[in-house]
Symmetry: C2
């Protein structure tokens, strides 16, 4: 699957400007960030304001895609990247559950997003307890 | 972000051969499927067998990427695609929470994957209640 065009639907506006600023997991902090949706994708936001929690998928463009084994900071034992949430992985697509604070035009203000400022956003999905939680 | 190379890490082997076969949400069925990981990514699977639940991200290559509004079958009101889990969206990356049945070599047998046979797999992440569930 060479040369698939990913079209970012928007970008993250975040207080985290570089890797050293970012928390291990945004979910564990109260920091707020914004997702700025590109004008041409605004019709896709219809009724998103009815959702409390969203999954945000970003393209971690500053990741190392060659890494297959990592030693997580909180569990200092080597793991395959697919057993961790490391940003370094063959396809660095991040998955963050965020709380929606408000939506103004094409800007979604959220809590819990661990992404550097300027990170491309690929997709937004509503969280559903029915399908996203183990039974 | 034109022409990002997505490198599938493997493919889905599933009883669902075409769109009409697939359930609305795999999570709601007991159907089993397999994820066959490409040989060069096998080191990334180290310790995945310790996980009970995984998020599987696939590239829904048979989706319509031009759709921005849909009317979900279970809630017949128009929504923006980002307020739904429709497979049709600008970047058709699916997100499925699956239960791991077993792992044999590079084959992960799972329950709850809603993906057609042959669908490219982009990423696998361990489910973490701490970061993937609303507080």
């Amino acid at each position: 699957m060479t040369n698939v065009d990913l079209n970012p639907i928007g970008y993250v506006s975040s207080p985290y400007k570089k890797k050293e600023d970012a928390p291990r997991q945004g979910r564990l902090t109260d920091t707020e960030a914004e997702i700025v949706i590109d004008e041409r994708y605004l019709p896709g936001l219809f009724r998103v304001e009815e959702k409390k929690h969203l999954f945000v998928l970003c393209w971690f463009d500053r990741s190392d895609r060659t890494v297959l084994r990592v030693t997580p900071p909180h569990k200092p034992v080597e793991h395959g990247v697919f057993a961790t949430r490391s940003p370094n992985r063959p396809n660095p697509i991040s998955l963050s559950l965020v709380d929606v604070i408000n939506i103004t035009g094409g800007t979604i203000r959220v809590r819990g997003l661990e992404a550097l400022d300027g990170t491309p956003v690929l997709d937004i999905k509503p969280y559903s307890e029915e399908i996203d939680c183990p039974k």
